[in-house]
């Protein structure tokens, strides 16, 4: 199968305006990459546009949320035998030209999970609004504390994985607001983490799905999930650290 293959997993919901450009940009970076767009029951032409640009499209029958959508991609990568995967958002905020950089630690065999972080380098240009910056920082601290390892950005959706990471996330991935908790699960399962500074673009269309009530739910849910998950025992993955 695709022992050396690379797959890009792109969750998308109502991104018809930008998904074509996102798919095209990824394909330009590496011609051997399979782009898999997971269409989370969009009401617009996201699936058709993505397919027209040469992506494999997995159509979910109804909206399952970002985590469930991304995990569909990981399961596809597992079934197809892919050795490496990158995950990018379908709204174009992740710059595909940085894929080689976040893949580098995996290709060198020094990490199983690479997070494209906005805060490795203190001079990075990403300046979110105050409340969001605090939220990102608090969760990063909490995960660092619970895992005894410094994590700078747990809310980034720009990540790369090797086979061990694909296997873990195909089996276990939170269904809503997955990024923070999945970082903790990966570390506790013994995956080796690397963090690479990336710049992210401002959204060009649509708006972030975070409103006040959702933020409140986000904070409470993720905090509960982190505390409970750190009480669980996770089997150390055999594949990790190869």
């Amino acid at each position: 199968m695709n022992r050396d293959g690379l797959v890009a997993i792109v969750p998308a919901w109502n991104e018809a305006e930008v998904i074509g450009a996102v798919v095209g940009e990824i394909k330009r970076v590496r011609s051997d990459i399979e782009v898999v767009v997971v269409d989370d029951a969009s009401q617009d032409d996201t699936a058709e546009v993505a397919e027209g640009h040469g992506a494999t499209v997995l159509r979910l029958p109804f909206n399952v949320g970002i985590g469930g959508a991304v995990q569909t991609g990981f399961r596809y990568a597992l079934e197809q035998g892919y050795a490496r995967a990158v995950r990018l958002d379908g709204d174009g905020q992740h710059d595909a030209s940085q894929i080689p950089r976040i893949l580098a630690p995996i290709e060198e065999g020094v990490a199983d999970l690479v997070i494209g972080s906005r805060f490795v380098d203190p001079g990075g240009s990403y300046r979110p609004p105050f409340a969001r910056r605090m939220g990102i920082r608090v969760f990063a601290r909490l995960v660092s504390l619970l895992c005894r390892q410094r994590v700078t950005d747990t809310t980034s959706g720009f990540v790369a994985l090797d086979r061990a990471g694909i296997e873990l996330f195909a089996a276990e991935y939170p269904h809503d607001y997955p990024e923070v908790e999945s970082t903790l699960v990966a570390l506790r399962s013994g995956l080796r983490l690397a963090q690479v500074q990336v710049e992210m673009r401002e959204r060009t269309t649509g708006s972030s799905s975070i409103t006040f009530l959702r933020s409140l739910y986000y904070i409470v849910k993720v905090t509960l999930a982190l505390l409970v998950a750190s009480l669980r025992r996770y089997p150390r993955l055999e594949g990790a650290g190869r």
Binding site: A41, E51, V57, R59, P61, F62, H175, D176, Y217, V220, K221, L224, A225, V228, L231, R232
Partner: protein, 126 residues
């Protein structure tokens, strides 16, 4: 002031509820999303049981003059109603999604049987 024994029993019961909910989440038998209302129930009952003057104050606001601990029952009942109502909405959504899954599988199976390509399937209305 709430009788001490009522307060102790209330505290013990709400702590038990919180612990059981947390253990269910830890064992993955309950999703965080559905645990939150139960945890809120446990915390509110815990506060009202432990804070003995407070229960009287709240009872005063509500006009319950005879037996303030009755407020505990009222609050517990209210929260159980909320949880049930929430579950009814969840079940309704699951019902719709389940029907849609069955329909998609029936349509896909028919296409597979006919040897038609199964990709690019049109989305069912809705």
């Amino acid at each position: 002031m709430t009788p001490l024994r009522v307060s102790l029993v209330g505290v013990a019961a709400s702590l038990l509820l919180i612990l059981v909910v947390l253990e269910l989440v830890r064992g993955r038998r309950l999703k965080e999303r559905y645990a939150l209302l139960w945890l809120a129930t446990g915390v509110v009952l815990l506060v009202l049981s432990a804070w003995r003057d407070g229960l009287n104050t709240v009872a005063g606001w509500l006009g319950v003059t005879g037996y303030p601990p009755a407020v505990l029952f009222a609050v517990a009942t209210l929260f159980v109603l909320l949880v049930l109502l929430h579950y009814s909405t969840v079940i309704s959504k699951l019902t719709d999604e389940n029907v849609e899954l069955a329909q998609r599988i029936a349509l896909l199976e028919e296409r597979v049987r006919r040897g038609e390509p199964v990709s690019g399937s049109p989305r069912p209305p809705g």
